[in-house]
């Protein structure tokens, strides 16, 4: 079953004075559980809008979006918040940690919002922080950590609720190439453990870490390709698979 299923999704922004901008045009994508997908595109292509829709931060103007089999296109703010909380782990370019809180509290945050009791969430947060190699830094504030460490806190936070997808928006954009590579290796490991990862980037070499690259231009899918492990393009991603998947959903 596809964990992400977009069917003819449109997103139109009203800019006032009857000027409309169509950021997404009839986008249909299916992403299976365990996939590692990169969404690429130049700025202004609509990839950020697509990411916001996939991340349930925004709703499509028209079209259908099924997240893990649930229709989220018509949900209200609070229902979307719940989906973001339980189903999606965000990793941002600028890390987006709460500056006044230490690493532990930052990682705990999604559990606070899902109502997990304090002792349990402490334990879980500690475990995930150990997993990302920051077991000795749990009481450090973000400004006491290096860029790579901050991004690892963010990844720990993304993982804490065991989400259906990890949505990484330019995760290496604010890191030097060596630290960026470390993060990409880390994501690779997460993929191997079975996590579904969606990577949004405009860097070709970053996108090549993924197994499938979806290119967006002018709000439309330009190409959707599977790639081999060595980074070579294998074959166009089966377009019929998308439509078949969308037709078969409840």
């Amino acid at each position: 079953m596809n964990v992400i299923e977009l069917v003819k999704v449109n997103k139109i922004y009203d800019m006032g004075a009857e000027v409309q901008v169509q950021a997404l045009k009839d986008i249909s994508i299916g992403i299976e559980k365990g996939e590692y997908v990169a969404i690429m595109g130049p700025s202004g292509s609509g990839k950020t809008t697509l990411m916001n829709v996939i991340g349930c931060l925004d709703t499509p103007s028209s079209g259908l979006y099924l997240f893990d089999g649930v229709n989220v296109s018509e949900m209200d703010d609070n229902e979307l918040a719940k989906i973001r909380n339980r189903g999606i782990g965000f990793v941002f370019q600028t890390f987006n940690l709460i500056p006044r809180s230490d690493a532990l509290h930052n990682v705990e945050l999604p559990l606070i919002y899902s109502g997990v009791p304090v002792s349990e969430r402490r334990d879980r947060a500690k475990k995930v922080l150990e997993m990302v190699g920051l077991g000795d830094r749990i009481h450090h504030k973000p400004n006491e950590l290096s860029g790579g460490q901050r991004q690892r806190v963010a990844i720990a936070r993304a993982l804490i609720n065991d989400p259906a997808i990890i949505l990484a928006d330019e995760p290496t954009g604010n890191l030097d190439s060596k630290t960026g590579d470390e993060i990409m290796i880390f994501l690779e490991e997460l993929h191997k453990k079975g996590n579904t990862i969606i990577l949004v980037t405009h860097e070709e070499y970053i996108a090549e870490h993924a197994r499938r690259i979806i290119r967006i231009r002018d709000g439309m899918i330009e190409s959707d390709l599977s790639i081999e492990k060595n980074g070579k393009v294998k074959a166009p991603y089966a377009a019929e698979k998308v439509s078949e998947g969308s037709g078969g959903q409840k």
Partner: protein
Amino acid sequence: MTFGAEFKEGFKLSLAALMANKARAVLTMLGIIIGIISVTMMGAAIEGLTRAFNNSISAIGADVLYIQKWPWMSGDEWWKYRNRRNIKPEYADIVKKEARLAAAVAPTVARIGTVKYQNKVASSVFVEGTTADYAYVTNMSFDEGRFFTAVESRGDRPLVVLGGDVANQLFPNQNPDGKIIQINGLSFRVIGVRSKQGSFLGMFSLDNQVMIPLGQFERIYGTHFQATINVRVVNQKEMDNAKEELRGIMRKIRGLSPYQEDDFSINQQDMLTNAFNKIAGIIGAVGIFVTALSLFVGGIGIMNIMFVSVTERTKEIGIRKALGARRQTILVQFLIESTLICLAGGLVGLGISYPLSMLVDKFLPTSMPISLAILGIMISLAVGVISGIIPALRASKLDPVEALRYE
């Protein structure tokens, strides 16, 4: 997420946010502190005044009518009454004989005089001449001894009953009973000390008095003084009827024709109470309005700073929303923050105004009952919620995409 957990988390977050901006929190709080101090001090002053008045007014007696030349609370019309004939003490005998609804009747005349015992002097003492019935009219109680009897009073014996203050002044270390004192050079034997009545509105003492038989008073000061006929009514419910009865008796005594207006006044405690309530009500309303303005300004300060706080933390709100914070979670967080500022301000304000009210009480009757303190806390809570609600709503409605983009 349950409301309890939401509240707890919001509380922790708010506390952390306030701690991160201590100076700002304290300055914002200052507005509320000043507001709460002024509101509670105003309340305490009105409360104190009312209590002092109620204590004082009981000395006048709710079931006593006073026949006098002047009406109480005559205001600007005093000149209308100045040509009235004097009220004479002898009227008391006629009233006593004729008034069915009178339980006790006594005339009083008074002057300021000087009282001496050996080398001790009490000056500016209120010297009252009256009859034995005065003890019944006023329901008098005694620390020492008794009042003069009807026989003693009619015989105008040189006896005196002291007010508490005079007794303390002349006899600091001994029992005054039976001692001989001088009033304006004439000798009187002390037969009793009246129980203390306190002061009138905290301004002058009601115990700085001595009481002597009417005839003795006239011997010292003469007969040309205004008298008051004090009439205790059998039943407080009969006050109006008794007043009418007295009016008829007085008109007869004065020989007034049906076309002439009363040339006397029948006063009662109600008149003072009503006048006081009116004045206290106006002072209270104006005072509370003015002081509430300062609290209002404080509330605006809170609202302003909460808007700043929301704007500053737009990014943080975006992050929290992305991670699953619902609208009400954000709303509660900011509401708690504004309420905390106000509550802390209210508590500090009370912490200052409570001892302050006790200090002021030394000069002016002031009293802060616990209900006023609780009201002060409720008010500061309400200000916190009211001034915080709009910024908090704005925060809760932020679009997560926009908020995350905010730098």
